[in-house]
């Protein structure tokens, strides 16, 4: 191997390692990201597009030697910002009544169980509509498995604020759902 081939090979190796890392992250985080975006109010197609864009941005970020600290939070933040840019109304779809769509919830359940299940989700949907945007965002990211610190980074708020917001949101839901 000649001396001048080393500087050429190094970026290629780095690029290959970056692609492999992105692939691993994609298989791990695609579904949580999709779920977050769909619950945020995007359609399934819009969410797919946003996830693709977010991972392309991640690829560019890693290729340009960007920071690799808290990649999960970084991805959620990018996806969150893109979702906000696409939405004309934040409350457009989240919390829509799910009547007629929950028939597949429990195919093996008895009709009684299905009615109870529907009722439970109807109460929860009504309670979710009463949450503030921040509370809803915190709870969605929490449900996606993010730590309070990561949630704070995604939403641009302090970790202590996230803790308070999550507590407030959960208590509201518990109260409205009579738990």
């Amino acid at each position: 191997m000649s001396d001048d081939s080393v500087p050429l090979a190094l970026p290629l190796l780095r690029l290959a390692a970056g692609i492999s890392e992105v692939t691993t992250l994609y298989s791990e985080l695609r579904k949580p990201l999709l779920r977050y975006l769909v619950c945020l109010g995007l359609t399934s197609d819009e969410a797919q597009d946003v996830v693709q864009d977010a991972f392309l941005s991640l690829q560019r970020h890693l290729a340009s030697n960007g920071t690799q600290e808290n990649i999960r939070g970084w991805l959620f933040r990018v996806a969150h910002n893109q979702a906000r840019n696409r939405q004309t109304s934040y409350h457009r779809r989240f919390g829509e009544p799910l009547d007629g769509e929950m028939d597949f919830l429990a195919d093996d359940a008895t009709p009684e169980q299905r009615v109870l299940e529907k009722e439970k989700f109807r109460h929860l949907a009504a309670a979710i509509r009463l949450l503030t945007e921040s509370e809803r965002g915190c709870l969605l990211l929490r449900a996606g498995g993010l730590r309070y610190r990561e949630i704070g980074e995604v939403l641009g708020i302090a970790t202590s604020t996230v803790a308070d917001t999550v507590e407030r949101g959960i208590k509201k839901l518990a109260e409205k759902c009579n738990v």
Partner: protein, 183 residues
């Protein structure tokens, strides 16, 4: 009201520092009211999680248009009919030997005798089509062409009036298999 009540959800999420977490743990073990609250918060968290899955499944499910299953059923029905009823047997026309105006009469080639057909009891309707296609071979033909010597050699090189006969064997795929040239 308990002092640790405000830390219950953070404790549930493992977000408290170690010392505070231990303190809350001790309190929960001795406080029935906080244990009940904790169970409620856990239940709400789980229901919220399931609700998110339901929303995602519902929106993903709606992506498939209603006409897709109908079209898929129609395509399947056509495919079944196509496979069930075999196509009409089409025998390829025999390839007859062709001759040019300049050709000399060719002795008739003995045509291979076709064996009398047997009645085959078919168990599967589709398989015999492939068997027939694999066994069928068109007859090999030969073409003889008379070529004047002047057309091959320069004038004067060969005596006048001399002809050559070229015999071409045609392969089943239409290509020339063999060329024999004699005087």
């Amino acid at each position: 009201m308990c002092d640790v009540q405000e830390k219950l959800i953070a404790w549930l999420d493992h977000e408290l520092p170690t010392d505070e977490s231990a303190e809350v743990q001790r309190h929960i073990e001795g406080c029935k009211q906080c244990r009940t609250r904790l169970v409620g918060y856990e239940k709400v968290s789980e229901t919220f999680d399931v609700y998110c899955d339901v929303v995602m499944a519902a929106k993903t499910r709606r992506r498939v248009p209603r006409w897709v299953p109908v079209l898929a059923g129609a395509v399947a029905a056509v495919a079944v009919m196509f496979l069930t009823f075999p196509r009409t047997r089409i025998e390829p026309p025999p390839i007859l030997p062709t001759t040019t105006a300049a050709s000399v009469p060719v002795p008739a080639q003995p045509t291979p005798e076709t064996a009398p057909r047997k009645t085959i009891h078919r168990r599967h309707a589709v398989a015999p089509v492939h068997v027939r296609a694999a066994k069928w071979q068109p007859r090999e033909t030969a073409v003889q062409i008379a070529i004047p010597a002047e057309a091959i050699f320069p004038p004067g090189a060969m005596p006048k009036g001399m002809n050559f006969i070229a015999e071409l064997s045609i392969a089943p795929d239409g290509s020339v298999k063999q060329v024999r040239l004699w005087q």
